[in-house]
Symmetry: C2
Subunit: 241 residues, 2 copies
């Protein structure tokens, strides 16, 4: 039988765990549990959720952390624009290549409030699955709204345990981000070419109690900042010191 | 720099790989490559995609395979209704708990043609990410349309290599599935209570060239059928024999 409590009945869209009878024996479904998966993986999965302005260094620090974790033999995955914006959370114009227009308009994600909410909802759902698979899951998106991040935290902790979600606030001043402007996005936003741009024409809601706040404009290198996160993971027992 | 070629520019919704200058050094982003991840994982990731009618045994066989793989020390994850329908592909009524009505109506997935297409698109995108993470990824959904499954195959193979996608057709006759009817869904569908029910009021398009076809009504137990898939994984070099 399924080990998931309170599972509602489903139509043929999903699938169902069940008992199947053969002429000879009765086989009972038994899902591999999260604990079994984690034992196989040799670690407990979790989500390290980076948040901060565009250009603040989230992705760079996440990549540096990913490498440090790899060197430690940890099993990781990094969710970022590279692997999410082309697939799961693709914009409408990208979906048009394979789907019709009504489909692309409904499910493609632009920059409206609803679209941003769904963007973080999908990414959060996937991050939770990766954590359940036993991976140290890094997520690097602006994720500007407190409420959206709070929903992901609840999802991850309810499916696992308190402490499985670490919010890392990369707190680089807007001026520094705008000066860096690695892709010229701030320039475009100031020129009115990008609507709803966080920090310019859309708010960034800073975390009130992040597990870690990195003052990233203070001259430390990304690997130094990543090391600080690593120490947090050790302090929390996610990694062996 | 990012290792992803041809990456388009992005707004603040996603994030960007870039070069950041500190007063002392220039740090270049380097994403951990798929090869590095797979070496750390000790295996190559792939997608084993089960397809077949509701009640055909997909989920049961996938769970049995998951257990066999665990015993072999393989790193796996199973995507099925249990972990997808409550989160990433939740129906509108479930999204209403946390989101407003317009949001739930737009992004929640019901049983219309568009909804089913998006359901498989999201699941396929996630399966591809799990394969990229180096996991043997099992997916157990009816996935009745050839075109939707073909898109997932292309996505997985383009992001990896040919052979990373194994389609397993669990070919149990409709009569057997309907007789089993573990959740009473066929009964409800026959009574007209479930619209667009695959096999009853919506077509099932059988794979023309699946990597494996399991005649699942022939008296073999789920572990026996799962063993057949295991042998395929060995034959294809995904598992050590």
């Amino acid at each position: 039988m399924s080990t998931t409590p309170g599972r509602p009945s489903q139509s043929s869209r999903g699938d169902e765990s069940s008992t199947h009878e053969s002429p000879h024996i009765v086989w009972h479904d038994h899902a591999v549990s999260r604990d079994e998966r984690q034992r196989a993986m040799g670690q407990r999965g979790c989500v390290v959720w980076f948040t901060g302005l565009s250009g603040c260094g989230k992705s760079t620090i996440a990549n540096a952390l990913d490498q440090l974790l790899l060197e430690r033999g940890a099993k990781t995955f990094l969710l970022d624009g590279d692997n999410i914006r082309h697939g799961l959370c693709a914009p409408p114009e990208r979906l048009l290549a394979d789907h019709d227009e009504a489909f692309a308009r409904r499910f493609g994600l632009g920059f409206g409030a609803e679209d941003r909410e769904e963007n973080i909802r999908r990414i959060g759902s996937v991050a939770q699955l990766f954590a359940a698979a036993g991976l140290i899951t890094l997520s690097a998106f602006v994720s500007p709204y407190i409420r959206d991040r709070q929903r992901v935290r609840e999802l991850v902790e309810q499916a696992g345990q308190a402490g499985d979600f670490l919010e890392v606030f990369v707190d680089t001043p807007l001026e520094v981000c705008e000066q860096r402007d690695p892709k010229g996005l701030y320039k475009k936003a100031r020129a009115g070419l990008i609507p709803n741009f966080t920090g310019i024409s859309d708010p960034y809601e800073a975390p009130e109690q992040p597990e870690l706040r990195l003052a990233a404009g203070d001259g430390r290198t990304p690997p130094q900042l990543a090391s600080e996160i690593l120490r947090q993971l050790e302090a929390r027992g996610i990694l062996q010191a």
